[in-house]
């Protein structure tokens, strides 16, 4: 009973979007059932971008770039699944490598900057003078 009620509650927005959809709709253009994963990848990338622009803590800005890496890795694995090619996953390994190297160096730089000004605020460095 609950599931039928919930289903009918979901039916309204679904039918709304269905009636406005073209033949085949949005997921029809992407086979393999990966449309949702690709949309998630786009959404995660945009959220990471927003977080990078909004945050002022230097470490958290780098953490948002790691979120963007994650979104790219998701898209690669999804497309690898679409074409049944394992190269997508192999490239994700390389992305992981680059992300790890970048995280190590970025955090080293952030720690050095923190030692100079005793703050993690990125805006403390907005003027390039001593």
């Amino acid at each position: 009973m609950i599931s039928s009620a919930a289903t009918s509650a979901f039916a309204l927005p679904t039918s709304l979007l269905a009636s406005a959809g073209a033949a085949g709709g949005l997921p029809g253009s992407i086979p393999g059932g990966i449309a949702l994963v690709l949309l998630l990848s786009a959404a995660l990338f945009a959220i990471g971008l927003i977080g990078f622009l909004v945050r002022r803590n230097m470490i958290l800005m780098f953490l948002c770039t790691e979120l963007m890496f994650q979104a790219a890795a998701l898209a690669m694995v999804a497309f690898g699944r679409l074409h049944m090619d394992v190269s997508g996953q192999v490239f994700v390994i390389f992305i992981l490598t680059v992300a790890a190297a970048e995280a190590a160096l970025a955090l080293g730089l952030v720690v050095l900057l923190y030692r100079r000004r005793e703050t993690l605020n990125a805006e403390a460095w907005s003027e390039l003078r001593e």
Binding site: T7, F10, P13, L16, A18, G21, A23, G24, G25, L26, P27, G28, S29, I30, G32, G33, I34, A35, L36, V37, L39, L40, A42, A43, L44, F45, A46, I47, G48, V54, R55, N57, I59, L60, F62, L63, C64, E66, L67, Q70, A73, L74, V77, R81, L82, H83, M84, V86, Q89, V90, L96, V98, A99, A100, A101, A104, G108, V110, L120, E123
Partner: protein, 364 residues
Amino acid sequence: MAPLLLYATCAVGAVGLYLILRPGAKSIRMAGVLIGLAAAIALGLGLLKTAAGTITPFDSTTAPTGSDGPSTLFTGLFCLIAVASAVRMITHRRPVYVALYFVLVVVSSAGLFLLLQAEFMAFALVIVYAGAILITYLFVLMLAQQAESEDDLRALAEYDRVPREPATAVVVGLIMVAVLSDALFGLGADGQPRPGGPRGQVLAAEASAAEWRLLDQIPRSRDAAVRALVPDYREVVLTDNRAITVRGGTAFVTIVDGEGVTRDVALPPSAAPTNTEQVGLALVAEFPVSLELAGVILTMAMFGAVVLARRQAELGEDQRREAAGLRRLTVDGPDGADRSDGSDGWGDESALLDDSRSTRRPRG
């Protein structure tokens, strides 16, 4: 019409995100959460609609396009967890919680990888990303934060509490999602997929054939599988270095068995190479140079980290006096000769007081 509706839903979600971001009353933030959640669910459900009719979201067996795509319910669940954790990640005030929510994003991402039949990547992601990179971030966060008390929220650093230009950032993010989804779903003016967009539905039978043929490149596994079936086989018959043929979804190997009869042996499905073996084979067989370059990148990162973390070396007393132009405390002069008569190569110390120290040269 459909892309416009997609953008409209994204815009509603962006408004919800903006309401969460801006430093305001808790009720405004709650309203933002509800709006964003509604937009996300509507987006997901609208995406699940196929031309044939609506599918019920609780039916986990119906994939969106009727092929053997990942289970819809679990995909939607993991997507929702990932988006919610990501939003919480960019809005939380305490930095350590931000890193912990990122761990949740990584774990839900690993779940999605499992649904996409990438088991090795799922494990590798959890081990490397959540287990190594994020731990490093947590260490540095705890190192570089001033201690704050639990209750006094004003003691939290101001640069963590107040976001910087949330409206502009949300608009930029909305444009990014619109552009990306347009490129991904690729509908042209007539509602048909643009040429060059993602296409190419691969049937499950074809896919397994490609996987079986990979087994030819791991001859030891292939021979072990054959030996398990026919222990006294003599040799495997190779044509063009390939022994495995796939007929009707089953893989056959042509062998010469113990009695000298050439026949085909059907391999059980458990002999197919696993995802880990496929990834390993691809890494070594197709991308060896990239593998080596990845090692070089990691070595560079290690060197860089060591150089960045290097402190000024503690000089001994002798080196410090030498750098200042003073006489060394030991009897060895600057030219290394043993001067046991007490004289050194530097002259006497009374010249310390004059300012032309830089012009001092060893005398004597």
